[in-house]
Amino acid sequence: MSAGAATPAYPRRWSRPPLIPDARLRWAIVLGAILYLIVGTGTVDVNWARVSEGLVRGGRFLAGFLAPDFTSRWSDISTGMIESLTMTVTATVAGIALSVPFGLGAARNIAPAWLYVVCRAVIAFARTFQEIIIAIFFVAMFGFGPFAGFLTLSLSTIGFLGKLLADDIEEADPAQLEAVRATGASWWQVVAYAVSPQVMPRLVGLSLYRFDINFRESAVVGIVGAGGIGATLNTALDRYEYDSAAAILLLIIGIVMVCEYSSGFIRRRVQ
């Protein structure tokens, strides 16, 4: 046994380890993706004539963005915006107010089993469908207008905040709960002095984030008649008034940006 032969040849070249270590799996995924793309693009029929015609309109739309027209439809735009904003405020407040009891009920560590099941079921129901589908039903039930939008946004706020709050409470430090309970505190006192200080900063942050989402969604529910700026935007596009549509979109973007910056500011102060 010679010493030279026993030493394995030291690799002279190095290559990066791939993300998926198994080579067969990696190639199967690549082949599958290519196959899917071939089949998939084959079934998407694009009317190129219509698209090239549309590019001219797209150009007009971009021109509208550079010179948005706020004035000629201002009364429609301001009505829609007021509806959207009031809907957002009321729905966020109502949604938070309702999601706190549901969140408390859906936390396994502080709620009895039957309440846990009921609250989790309500939250799961509220999260299942997109806002716009819920809005279609609420418009059919409650009539056209921002009231249906308010209900839609409140329901989806419950689904969103209720779940995150419940998960947060379940992850709360049990030692603090135990300590407050050991003083002889009632259930309400445990919630007030052990649970709420632990989850409050995140709840504030999530509520502000949800305000943001609700405003964006309020622009959508108008498409199916639930009030808000979406209806105005829909009308503007139906009339091919791209400059007014651009003005509405710029307003939405501006308000979302303002919300994001102010909520970031508040969150930094709270946390």
């Binding site: 998407v44 029929d45 009317n47 698209v51 009031t86 469908f129 589908i133 964006r216 498409i223 935007l233």
Partner: protein
């Protein structure tokens, strides 16, 4: 420490100082006043008779929706395929478009923090502010109805999402690894491939899978504005008040969303 003096002269602990209590009270008061004011403005035109009749309306609709029209399912496979295509291709297109934007927006990889970064950040904010349905509305008006408009709408909405999460991941990388690669004399492209990309790869993959899952959800309703898929079938069934078909489509959407969530969870588990 905030304390309060009781009637017998003893001091007791309290949660807040009087000033803090007052500030909180003022905050709550302002919030409630604002909410009540918004409520008054919002419901000024509400017709309460319609609201009062809602339970009857609901009972009526759900009565019409049952039972689902099962034999309609045969006509839904094509819209379902379109929905999956819109979500998947939209996500792929968004990945291609969002990755460079993310590198331009990240503080440590942007070529110019003064000129390029604000533009990239604006692209991300603009894309995120506008819902996929609104993008759909725009693109159907521009490109005409169909799956193609849906794909572009999903892609445009996803650029902001993927771009934001990806540039945050890029900003959080370990600079020492990049420095080490640079110290070997690597070119900027090599620094990118060997120093930055391996660090963000897991985040990149899980962001994309996460967005794909959301896109499946959103593409099920994009058809409501004419952009193809299951939503288109929903819209046409709603227009003719074919409630049993609506029930079936909603069940189909529900099943699709559940399956996509399971797939996404499985892939994420495999990556992390």
């Amino acid at each position: 420490m905030p304390v309060t003096q009781q009637s017998d002269g003893r001091l007791a602990w309290r949660h807040l100082t009087p000033g803090e209590s007052l500030a909180r009270f003022a905050g709550w008061f302002a919030l409630i006043a604002l909410t009540v004011f918004c409520w008054r403005v919002m419901t000024a035109d509400t017709i309460w008779a319609f609201v009062a009749s809602a339970p009857a309306q609901a009972a009526d609709i759900f009565g019409r929706m049952m039972p689902p029209r099962w034999d309609y399912a045969g006509r839904l496979w094509r819209p379902l395929w379109d929905t999956i295509n819109i979500a998947t291709m939209g996500t792929l297109l968004a990945i291609v478009l969002a990755t460079p934007v993310a590198f331009l927006a990240a503080r440590n990889t942007t070529p110019s923090a003064v000129l390029v970064r604000p533009v990239a950040l604006f692209i991300i904010v603009a894309s995120r502010s506008i819902n996929a349905l609104i993008w759909g509305l725009l693109l159907v008006a521009i490109l005409g109805p169909g799956v193609f408009a849906g794909i572009i709408a999903i892609a445009l909405r996803s650029i902001g999402f993927i771009g934001k999460l990806l540039y945050e991941a890029i900003e959080e990388i370990d600079e020492r690894q990049v420095e080490a690669i640079r110290a070997t004399g690597a070119s900027p492209a090599q620094v990118m491939i060997y120093g930055i990309v391996p660090q963000i790869m897991p985040a990149f993959a899980s962001i994309n899978v996460f967005r794909w899952d959301i896109n499946i959800r959103e593409s099920t309703v994009l058809g409501l504005v004419g952009a193809g898929g299951l939503g288109l079938a929903l819209e046409s069934s709603l227009n003719v008040l074919a409630w049993p078909q609506v029930t079936l489509i909603l069940l189909m959407i529900f099943a699709t969303v559940i399956v996509s969530e399971l797939i996404a969870a499985k892939i994420r588990k495999a990556i992390i």
